[in-house]
Amino acid sequence: MQCSKCGNPKVIIKKEQSGQYLCKDCFIDSIEKKVIKTVRKEKLLDKGDKVLVALSGGKDSVTTLEILNTFRELNIIDLCAVTVDEGIANYREEGVDIAVRHAERLGIEHKVVSLKDEYGITLDEIMQRENHKGSCTYCGVFRRTIINKAAREMGATKIATGHNLDDEVQSIMMNYLEGNTDNLTKLGAKTESKAEEFTVKIKPLREIPEREIGLYVVAKDLEVHFNGCPYAMQSFRGEVSEVVNQLSEKHPTIKYSTLRGYDKIKNVLKKEMQKEYAHGRCSRCGEPSANDLCKACSFLEELGV
């Protein structure tokens, strides 16, 4: 057994989809080249962009920051980061500390925004309410609002998130299985909203399997927060993930083919199915919203804060 590229006998991965064996250096190189290829192919970056990385301190966002930093070192883009502290005791603190250390190491502008400071309530406090809608519902909406706001405040032209191949395939399958054609039109490597206030979002890791991102951070000795969210539960996403992973054992290319198939029909989907939303402002916070209140503010009203 030896590295299929350089012959090194110390292999760290057997790629089931290609049968290729790779040593540590060739594996790291292959991941970085693949991300750079996605960036070029999908035209994710423009010279002079200021990219805001949504940095949780987990493996996906740290890898996104690390690889985008190569574009910063070449003076192609500028980088900054935002970390959202949802207020989850004994969980989020470590991720926030790690995010701070990465931003300091690279010398980039970084901001930590807590739900407590922004909305006066933590996720832990929300979850103590009897009529709550489930942690992920609030977390997703509040986090998205905070990241969009931070992008405007920091003058970012793009927002980079750490979505990987597994995340993207799960989203494609979930929306298809639920018949949610509207959400299905919104996926992809680059998502743009017609509302100017929403910054363009990019997913540079979209073609990298989740396990390979985990292996990349361990191989590169990058400090990351490996831990499960205490509110994570058996969700529909979890069930879809299990089925896709099971299928991948006998059909190792299935995640890639699902992504490719989606990419082929995406433009037709967008043309035929994309809904037009009214471009108004939230009457409470002034953020862009299709309704009188944006999603974040309607939750806050329900919670009485």
Binding site: K10, I12, K24, E210, G214, V218, F226, G228
Partner: protein, 67 residues
């Protein structure tokens, strides 16, 4: 014939059942999925087909959490 297993809070000596015992077999015994774990043998990353030798230190790192 034994090896040292390190995984989360576990730090224990385990017996080697045979001469061809692989990390994959260890993961199966611990009911862990190779999809969520990366393995180190004496501090170096290895693939799951690797045979565990006497006195090896095997460290398992969970890289994917459900949710």
């Amino acid at each position: 014939m034994s090896f040292l297993l390190k995984y989360k809070n576990i730090n224990e000596k385990r017996e080697l059942p045979n001469n061809e015992y692989t990390i994959k077999e260890l993961l199966d015994e611990l009911e862990l999925s190779a999809q969520t774990i990366v393995s180190k043998q004496n501090g170096e990353l290895v693939i799951e087909d690797t045979v565990i030798e006497e006195d090896d230190e095997i460290q398992l790192v969970q890289i994917i959490y459900g949710g």
